[in-house]
Amino acid sequence: MFFLIIKRILLGLITLFIVSLITFVGTEVLPGDACTTYLEREAYGAALEACYKRLGLDIPAHERYLSWAYNVIQGDFGYSLSGQMPINEVLGPRVKNSMVLASAAIIIGIPLALILGIITALWRDKLPDITISTVTIFAMTIPEFISATLLILVVAIWLEWLPGIVIVPTDVTVKELLPNIILPVIAIAMIMTAHMARMVRSSVIQVMASDYVQMAILKGVPYWKMVFKHVLPNALLPAINVVALTIAWLLGGVVVTEVVFNYPGLGRLVIESISNRDLPTVQALAIILASIYVSINLIADLLTLMLNPRLKTLQIRK
């Protein structure tokens, strides 16, 4: 078991390393660089050279990568070009804002998905299943930018219940942020919840058809006790990994939604820094997003390992 955990962690680190390489190479081969973008028309002669020197762009690429990686490991992402300040300071409030958004979506989405998934499975092909399933399949097929735009149109513009666009400074407090995030959260949670609910549904249905559930029924175990003791633990275990994937995949949704709602989070920062050719920030964001992705999957793997008695003994015995 111990070795397995170490192995997974190592694999995660390797993934991060590869991501960092790819972003580095990617930004390297793109035409134009930070200095030409930054200096615009003055990008020639001494000014350009001075800029190169200041950013360290005059040293060979591999050395630059090594020193950059060395700094990143110590938690220093370097200097943002457009903001003209340390990237760590730029990131701080953005990370917080995005976390608020994502956690709200997760806190609402996961329990809702579980409940919907279980209801649809237990009342399979009955009215509750048919209605909920229709809605979830519909929700699954609408991409965030459409659902977000529709939400703004209906709730903000027609009904005028909530603000459509988030106009707050980046370093706003959580309390001030809350009323603004309702629509973005709905937009993000919708598609994620729908996906997870479908997954939970099929997993529960599969377990319900298993020999041991039939056995529990024939043993005389009352229905709800059977559901909670015999069905759910076995059905939700495989769901953990899918939930993790969905959450990791939610990151993409966050980017889109933040842009549509003008929300001051990491996602908007991604788009902003790409269009500004703020390469150090783009690199920092790539690493951060990849780390989140890798850690979520790692946590899911560890949870599965810990909760599954079968895997547990297997590992101990070997």
Partner: protein, 677 residues
């Protein structure tokens, strides 16, 4: 006459087809179960046995519905009750022992909890009493150290132990009726015999009525007082066990009994043509008409009723049963194999082969050091002659498949070598074998579902080896495929079919045809008939024998079923824990089993005859790895000599009749002991 506890009246169960037709899978079943009796329900897969047993618990599987009739238990009309009411009966009055206990025990709950759950539901014991009762139940089903077993998860037990837990759980509520759905299918012969003996003991001890569902007439014969034979959703024969087994008066039962290979009979069992009609395809006439050798014109149009014959206390559904009644000849039809003397012309030699699943540590790999001193398979020496059928037998985990895989090159041998045609040492590595070596050795697997690509038609499946080894194409390829199909008795029209459109037996025939397409010298058969019904099994065995005679192919045949091995093989090698125990001509090994393990194995075989009881001479302990030194069978040997067996590897001894055994006891002495028994 004792009282009736379960009455099944005119029960029909069916499903709705996609076109909305109602298709019945149980037709008008009427029968009674009396207090204290054990009723066996037997029939081929798909005949509706499990559906009938489940209906006796008021349970109809998802997708099925009751079309008519009723099941009355004591005074409860089970099929009209709601779930709340049924919960009070299920597990308490009627309990179920499932087919595959491994899958029927909830994986995330400990054994103790699952039994406790049944006790909580169906008894008024308090916590302490329940704990005591759990131990008592586990003890009753003869599980060692109940306290530790109770704390284990299902996957931490062996198949036999899981089955015992399921029996214990079913007994928790002290039921009046026990339903057993194939409770021993999939267990090793020795384990199976022990579980059956336990069930017999429980039936006597508690006076519980039992309904025992199985496709295995051997198992049914050991436990039943009365037997119900089902065919295509109908009862075709019902009566006292002994009469049914000794004097079957329905052509189907007659054929079924005939197609079971028996230990006492050399030669191949007689086979029955065709297979059971799919539900919904048969319109009129007797459902057995297509396969019946007594069929007449009237059977085609009219379906016979179940007729009760008073003097025999038997019900039979056949117009012509009287013909079988008169037939006094009890002789079993079996085609004898010509056991022609095989010339000593060795085609494959296994020399000192050992195989290990243990992964070598990287360092040891570099230093080329052998770390696993106790490999899964060790010291295998077998010389196989051209044209013979040699069988490897042994319980699960004895390394039979492992050896086959090594011969096929799918698994590396750790030591020793495998020589082909006396001069070519076959490479350890499949990739290094040349095309003619690959062609020479073909495999047929246990499960044709897994070995046939579901997306290819039969034609494509058979074309592959023909193209690969002989570069055939066009008209020639097609003719060859038709030829092959003919050889396995399948018509030309099967070419366009996909595996899912074939029955189990047909699929296995295609797999056989594919193996023969390569014109191999040796065919490795891994449990090729285990997944098939007995009547189909008999047909496949006959086919294999015929093909072998035509082509002079050598078979290496692996099976856990000793009677099947008896029917087809010229020579047997008995394996325990990856070590050879005995090897010799089949007729001698079966007649004079001299190695103690062979004795144990043969003793446990179930024959479809209530008068032949299995002899249980050793415990059915499961050992998870072979002992480090001494005799491999020391852990279970009923004749163990003590320290000698524990420390010294026994020598090979060769008996007068050609058997070679590996035991410390003198072979003469062993033969005398066993003959004396």
């Amino acid at each position: 006459m004792s009282e009736i506890i379960q009455k099944v009246k005119n029960l029909s169960v069916g499903f709705k087809s996609q076109k909305g037709h109602e298709i019945s899978i149980l037709k008008n079943i009427t029968t009674n179960i009396k207090k204290g009796e054990t009723v066996g329900i037997v029939g081929e897969s798909g005949s509706g046995k499990s559906t009938l047993a489940l209906a006796m618990m008021g349970y109809v599987k998802q997708g099925l519905f009751k079309m008519g009739g009723e099941c009355i238990f004591n005074s409860f009309n089970l099929l009209n009750m709601n779930n709340r009411e049924l919960e009070k009966i299920r597990g308490r009055k009627i309990a179920m022992i499932p087919q595959n206990a491994g899958q029927a025990l909830t994986p995330n709950l400990k054994i103790g909890y699952q039994i406790d759950e049944a006790l909580k539901l169906h008894t008024n014991f308090n916590k302490n009493e329940r704990e005591k009762k759990i131990s008592e139940l586990l003890n009753k089903v003869r599980l060692p150290s109940p306290e530790t077993i109770a704390l284990r998860y299902p996957h931490e037990l062996s198949g036999g132990q899981q089955q015992r837990v399921a029996v214990g759980m079913a007994l928790a509520g002290n039921p009046d009726l026990l339903l057993l759905d194939e409770p021993t299918t999939g267990l090793d012969v020795t384990t199976q015999a022990h579980v059956l003996e336990l069930l017999n003991f429980i039936a006597k001890d508690t006076g519980t009525s039992m309904v025992y569902v199985s496709h295995d007439l051997g198992a049914i014969a050991q436990v039943s007082d009365r037997i119900i034979v089902m065919y295509s959703g109908e009862i075709v024969l019902e009566g006292p066990a002994r009469d049914i087994l000794k004097r079957p008066i329905h052509p189907y039962t007659y054929g079924l009994l005939n197609s079971i290979p028996k230990l006492s009979l050399a030669g191949l069992p007689g086979s029955m043509p065709g297979s059971q009609p799919q539900p919904g395809t048969k319109k009129e006439g007797c459902s057995f008409y297509d396969r019946c050798n007594l069929a007449e014109e009237k059977c085609k149009k009219n379906s016979p009723d179940l007729e009760y014959i008073n003097e025999l206390k038997t019900s039979v559904r056949c117009f012509n049963y009287k013909k079988l009644l008169k037939d006094k000849s009890k002789k079993q039809l079996s085609t004898s194999r010509n056991e022609k003397n095989i010339k000593i012309n060795e085609i494959l030699n296994l020399t000192d082969v050992s195989i290990s699943y243990a992964k070598q540590k990287l360092l040891d790999q570099i230093l080329n050091k052998i770390t696993d001193t106790n490999p899964t398979v060790k010291d295998i020496n077998i010389d196989i002659n051209k044209g013979e059928t040699i069988a490897l037998v042994g319980e699960s985990g004895s390394g039979k498949s492992t050896i086959l895989k090594s011969i096929a090159g799918l698994l590396r041998t750790k030591e020793g070598n495998i020589k082909f045609n006396q001069d070519r040492i076959l490479s350890n590595d499949l990739k290094k074998r040349n095309s003619s070596d690959l062609r020479a050795i073909q495999l047929i697997f246990q499960n044709p579902d897994e070995s046939l690509n579901p997306n290819h038609t039969v034609e494509e499946i058979l074309a592959q080896p023909l193209k690969l080894y002989f570069g055939l194409s066009g008209e020639k390829l097609k003719n060859n495929i038709i030829d092959l199909l003919e050889k396995v008795r399948l018509g030309k029209f099967y070419m366009t079919r996909y595996p899912r459109q074939l029955s189990g037996g047909e699929k296995q025939r295609v797999a056989v045809a594919r193996a023969f397409a390569a014109k191999p010298d040796i065919i490795l058969c891994d449990e090729v008939t285990s997944a098939l019904d007995v009547s189909v099994q008999a047909a496949v065995l006959n086919l294999l024998q015929k093909l072998k005679e035509d082509f002079g192919t050598t078979y290496i045949f692996v099976s856990h079923d000793l009677a099947v091995v008896r029917a087809i093989s010229d020579r047997v090698a008995v394996l325990y824990q990856g070590r050879l125990c005995e090897i010799g001509p089949s007729k001698n090994v079966y007649k004079f089993p001299s190695h103690p393990y062979t004795e144990v194995l043969l003793g446990a075989v179930l024959e479809p005859d209530p008068d032949i009881k299995p002899k249980l001479v050793a415990e059915d302990i499961v050992e998870d790895k072979p002992p480090e030194k001494g005799c491999c069978f020391q852990g279970r040997c009923p004749r163990i000599l003590g320290d000698k067996c524990k420390n010294e590897t026994p020598p090979w001894q060769i008996g007068d009749n050609g058997n070679a055994i590996r035991c410390h006891i003198n072979i003469k002495e062993l033969e005398n002991i066993q003959n004396g028994n």
